[in-house]
Structure formats: structure tokens, C-alpha cells
């Protein structure tokens, strides 16, 4: 029979998910199955997306859920519709917070990515010979998104472990997850602490860190006094590296949508068509990319 596979993502507008879909499509072409791409921004939409897949005769689906706590509901819905289930990026958890281990998962640990960000900042601080006492850290936060908290906290934990004074970390809560909101929030932090001349910035993604970098420019902090490290590595970050002069956007942790999109789709196909069950857990790593090596890193990760 024809194989039909669903690929549900939580934020279809995000380039990351566009890429995942794009690479899943590559697998679909290779193997000749149909890929149904559905965006589902909240729990309710996830439920109807699964019903919808069931109704159109899909045999399985891959999902990046808007919230990991939706786990039991998704598992139940998938079973009710007789669909095979795999997760990508974010791993489902039970009511008590433990991961649902039965569901094959390919993902990245939010905390791990955060730690990579923190490590590269710490390295750069040392390289520039800054005294951590004189440096401020902008924590561009969006705390209602659990992944965001995990990433940012991951980064800050590395900073703190390296001796970064806790008192120098300042919260800049974004009202929304776009650059303008981050810019406005970070501006306040900079103005409030006008005495601090050297800054680092972390946030949930490239857009958030970019906001902090723009804020530093608007209050006249020179590019070499700012170390912003983002997460994602999509175009907004690459654009920074392409600018003629370096900006305070120092680097970004690129995570590869290729494996996530291509491999999960392929595995699901194998599972459906040939009964070959996928690995229960595959973790991929992020890789830090800087102005001078981003092209190489992207090639290594199979993007471009």
C-alpha cells in the first residue's frame, strides 16, 4: 500500500521547522512516500492534526510537540488512530515529568545546547582577557516556554561555574519572541547598568540574542565589548556574519535540521514499510559556529 507519513511541528513559521520539513521531503522523494506536513501550535491543534492524519489514512507520524507534557494525550491519540509515533526535537514526558521511553525519539537536549552557548562565551571572555567582575550578562528570557528556560539556564550554569558573578546577570524578559521585543527589554537592562561597559548575552534563539546585540549598538557599546551567542544558525544569524564589519553577535550554536528531518522520516518509513523499529533514543549535538568558520560548520552539518 501507499505509505503516508505525517510530520507535525509546533511552530511552522520558524525556519528550523521549515528546514526539518524540507529534509523530510527529501526522504519522501527518495523512498516514494507521501509526507503530510501540519503545523500545530497548541495541544488542541495537535489533537485534531492527529485525527486528521488518521482520517486521511496515514500509517505513522513524527511530531515536535508544543509542550512535552502533552505526552500521554499524544500517545493515546496515536493509538486510537492506529498510527505509529516518533518524536523529534523535544521528548514527550509523563504526568510526573519522566520521559516516555516507549516512543522513539531523536532530539537535542535543550540544556546541552545551552551549555554549548555558555562554554563558548566563557572561552571568549578568557581569550579577550576580560575580568568577569566587570562583565554584565543579559539573560533575554521568555520563561513561559520551558525549552527557553532550559537553554538559557544551561548557558548560565556554565558561566556561573566558571566564576561569573551571579549579581552581574540581568534578566531581560521579552514580551514576545521577536527581535524587537528582545531589543526593547535589553535596552532597559543596558541603561539601568550604564556603569558596566562589557557585556555578554544569551537567549532562547538567534532572534533574542540579536535583540540584545542591537540594543548594545543603540546605546553605543562597541562591537568588541559585546559577546552574544545565539542558538539556531538560521538566516538571521548568518546575516550577521555576512555583515562587512563584525558585530557583537559573536557566534551561534547551529543545530542540524537535516538529521532531524531526513532521518526521522526515513526511520518512520522503514518502520511502516519494513517493520524495522527505530532506535528508542538518538541524541544529536549542536555545534558552535563563528564568523570565520560558519560556512565550514554548515557544510559539516549538511546544511546548504
Amino acid at each position: 500500500a501507499d505509505v503516508k507519513i505525517g510530520f507535525i511541528v509546533k511552530q511552522p513559521e520558524e525556519p528550523w521547522f521549515q528546514d526539518e520539513w524540507k529534509f523530510a521531503d527529501v526522504a519522501a522523494k527518495e523512498k516514494g512516500f507521501t509526507l503530510v506536513k501540519i503545523g500545530a501550535e497548541d495541544g488542541e491543534k495537535v489533537q485534531s492534526a492527529i485525527d486528521n492524519l488518521g482520517a486521511q489514512g496515514a500509517q505513522g507520524f513524527i511530531i515536535c510537540t508544543p509542550d512535552v507534557k502533552l505526552g500521554p494525550g499524544i500517545v493515546a491519540k496515536a493509538a486510537a488512530n492506529d498510527l505509529k509515533l516518533m518524536t523529534v526535537d523535544d521528548r514527550l514526558v509523563n504526568a510526573d515529568g519522566s520521559p516516555i521511553e516507549d516512543v522513539p525519539h531523536m532530539g537535542i537536549s535543550a540544556t546541552k545546547i545551552g551549555e554549548a552557548v555558555g562554554q563558548s562565551i566563557v572561552d571568549e571572555i578568557k581569550k579577550r582577557g576580560w575580568d568577569m567582575k566587570d562583565v554584565g550578562a543579559i539573560r533575554v528570557s521568555y520563561d513561559q516556554l520551558p525549552t527557553a528556560v532550559d537553554r538559557v539556564e544551561g548557558a548560565l550554569s556554565v558561566l556561573k561555574a566558571a566564576g561569573f558573578p551571579e549579581a552581574n546577570i540581568f534578566d531581560a524578559p521579552q514580551a514576545k519572541t521577536d527581535t524587537e521585543a528582545a531589543l526593547n527589554a535589553a535596552t532597559v537592562v543596558l541603561n539601568k547598568n550604564a556603569g558596566i561597559k562589557k557585556w555578554v548575552a544569551v537567549g532562547l534563539n538567534d532572534e533574542a540574542v540579536l535583540g540584545a546585540v542591537r540594543a548594545s549598538e543603540s546605546v553605543g557599546i562597541p562591537a568588541d565589548s559585546m559577546i552574544g551567542v545565539g542558538i539556531g544558525g538560521a538566516d538571521s544569524a548568518i546575516n550577521e556574519f555576512k555583515k562587512p564589519a563584525p558585530t557583537g553577535f559573536f557566534g551561534t550554536v547551529i543545530i542540524s535540521p537535516k538529521r532531524h528531518g531526513y532521518e526521522t522520516a526515513l526511520n518512520m518509513y522503514e518502520w511502516i514499510a519494513n517493520g524495522k523499529e527505530p532506535e528508542k533514543l538518538t541524541l544529536t549535538a549542536g555545534q558552535i559556529a563563528l564568523r570565520d568558520n560558519y560556512e565550514q560548520v554548515r557544510k559539516d552539518l549538511g546544511i546548504e
Binding site: 511552522p12 513559521e13 507521501t34 503530510v36 506536513k37 501540519i38 503545523g39 501550535e41 497548541d42 495541544g43 488542541e44 491543534k45 495537535v46 489533537q47 485534531s48 492534526a49 485525527d51 486528521n52 488518521g54 482520517a55 486521511q56 489514512g57 508544543p66 509542550d67 512535552v68 507534557k69 502533552l70 505526552g71 500521554p72 494525550g73 493515546a76 488512530n81 514526558v93 509523563n94 504526568a95 510526573d96 515529568g97 520563561d143 513561559q144 516556554l145 520551558p146 528556560v149
Partner: protein
């Protein structure tokens, strides 16, 4: 034929025709599974639209419904986890939802503050409460019995769909056959005349908002049960979907005009649009455009119809 199209029930007829076309052309649409999935996908919008209809008909506006749905869903889960009793959870959710609505009504009716601003404010405050209560994270349900609210079936049809159907019937009746309904329409049609006729406009408004809060709580509980957790971020943007469904269904934002059949059709149009776009595998970005065009087309058709029927805009 012409009479059918142009009559009071014209929207329903247009809808029926559109439905038939979709059923014939879109594969997998008219299957029992898909129909049930579709109906389940509009449960939240459908339930909340019942009272939003009253709100709009009385010339008011409620932007806080999404937050209230999320908040009361959270409360249901947290209270039943804490007490070990699902009933306690339900009661707590209804109380909280009702309280939010009551406060909205009180502020709007007694302090005469613009409904848009008031509910925009409570929308944020209540969302804040939901986030604070849960520390921004979804809360899982301990007692699997809670899931049964959404999973159980009667005559093969899931309970939430029954609940929605009952709400449609009850609120349709309330609108057309009760003093409450007529007073609502009167307030929206001419608040001054209603006041001068002795209708207690301000307590009517408080009641309508309180009812809206209660109904949001019901929707919130069903949603939490369906998604098996209380989520502080659930139902964002619900307000606009619900208001669109109502307006699509012919409820006038200028007040005074509302009909349950229209609202049901509005709710279904929204649900079918989403459903069909996914069945046809329309790309995410194009879905935005299509969604917008469907909205436009639906009101345009309805307008042409009523213009032809010689009614006043």
C-alpha cells in the same frame, strides 16, 4: 430556490452547498472518522462561541476567553491533583472561570470601563495567574479518570461533542425563548431604550460575562482532559477565532443581531477550513492566505445574499 438562498436561513443554505462541494471533491473528508475529528477540533471554539454570541449581541466584547479557558483548565488539573478528587477539580474550575467572568462584568458594568480594555487587561492578568500557578510549565494529570471526560463516548460519539451540542441547543433556546435572551438583544439593539423600558442593563451585562466565564471553564476542563494536562499557554488567540466564528455567523458587532444557527455555521466553517487544508496538504504559509480568503469569501457571500434580500447592512 431563490427564496431559500435569500431567506433568513440563507447562510445555512450556502453552507450546505459548500459542504456538499467539499464532501464530493476532497478525499477522506466525508468519513465518519474525519467528521468526528472535525467536530472534536471545534469543541472549544463552539462552546465558547455560545456565550460570546450573547456578549456581542449585547454590544460587548470579550478578549479574555482564551486566558480563562487556559486558567480554568489549569485549576481543574491542579485542584484535582491536590485533592485527589476530579469533582473538586471541576467545581474549582467552574468557580474560577465564573469569578473571572463576574469580575469582567462588574468592572465593565459598574465602573463603566470599556469592555475591550477591561477584557484585554483581564486577558493578561488571568494568563499571568495561570503562568504563576504552574510556574510556566504544563501540569500533568495524576488521575487517569480525568481523561475519561474527553475519551468517553455515548452512542459512538465522544462526550465533548455531546457537550457542545447540548450547549448549542440550550443557548439557542435561551436566546430566542427567554427573557434573558430578548433582553440581551434589546440591550445590544438600543441600550438607551432598554434602560428606559426598565431593563436592568448593568446586571444583565454582569450576568452575561459571568456566564461567559463559566462556559469558558467548561471548555477549559474538556480541553485539559483532551490534551491530558493543564497548559498555561493553551488557547492563546482563541478570542479572535471565536469572535470571527460569531461574526461569520451573522452576529453583529454593533449589537442586537444574533442567531444560534448562524454561529454554529460560523464555527463549522472555521473548522472545515482547517480540516480541508490539512487533508489537501496545503503548505503552512499558503494556509494563512487561504484561511484569510475563506473568511472574506464567507462574509462576502453572506453580504451579497442579504443585499439581494434588501436588508439593511
Amino acid at each position: 430556490m431563490k427564496k431559500l438562498l435569500l431567506g433568513e436561513q440563507g447562510l445555512v443554505v450556502i453552507f450546505a452547498v459548500a459542504f456538499a462541494v467539499v464532501a464530493l471533491t476532497v478525499p477522506n473528508f466525508l468519513t465518519e472518522r474525519n467528521m468526528l475529528g472535525l467536530l472534536q477540533s471545534v469543541v472549544t471554539i463552539g462552546i465558547v462561541a455560545c456565550t460570546m454570541m450573547f456578549c456581542l449581541a449585547s454590544r460587548d466584547f470579550d478578549l479574555s476567553v482564551g486566558s480563562t479557558v487556559a486558567f480554568s483548565g489549569m485549576i481543574a488539573v491542579m485542584a484535582s491533583n491536590a485533592s485527589g478528587s476530579i469533582v473538586v477539580g471541576l467545581v474549582a474550575a467552574l468557580l474560577c472561570g465564573g469569578a473571572v467572568g463576574f469580575v469582567n462584568g462588574l468592572v465593565i458594568a459598574r465602573f463603566r470601563i470599556n469592555a475591550l480594555i477591561t477584557t484585554l487587561a483581564t486577558m493578561q492578568i488571568v494568563r499571568g495567574f495561570a503562568l504563576i500557578a504552574s510556574d510556566g510549565r504544563a501540569v500533568g494529570i495524576n488521575d487517569p479518570g480525568f481523561y475519561q471526560l474527553a475519551l468517553s463516548k455515548f452512542l459512538g460519539i465522544p462526550t465533548p461533542i455531546w457537550v457542545m451540542a447540548i450547549f448549542f441547543i440550550v443557548f439557542g433556546f435561551v436566546l430566542n425563548r427567554t427573557v434573558f435572551g430578548k433582553n440581551t438583544l434589546a440591550i445590544g439593539g438600543n441600550p438607551e431604550a432598554s434602560r428606559l423600558a426598565g431593563v436592568d442593563v448593568s446586571s444583565m451585562r454582569i450576568w452575561i460575562f459571568a456566564l461567559q466565564g463559566l462556559v469558558c471553564a467548561v471548555a477549559g476542563v474538556l480541553l485539559a482532559s483532551r490534551i491530558t494536562s493543564g497548559q498555561p499557554n493553551a488557547a492563546t488567540g482563541l478570542e479572535l477565532s471565536v469572535i470571527s466564528a460569531c461574526v461569520l455567523g451573522g452576529v453583529s458587532l454593533a449589537g442586537g443581531r444574533a442567531a444560534m444557527t448562524g454561529v454554529i455555521v460560523g464555527v463549522l466553517i472555521m473548522g472545515i477550513a482547517e480540516n480541508v487544508m490539512n487533508l489537501l496538504n496545503i503548505q503552512a504559509f499558503y494556509q494563512y492566505v487561504v484561511r484569510g480568503l475563506i473568511l472574506l469569501l464567507a462574509v462576502l457571500l453572506d453580504n451579497l445574499r442579504s443585499a439581494a434580500a434588501g436588508r439593511r447592512g
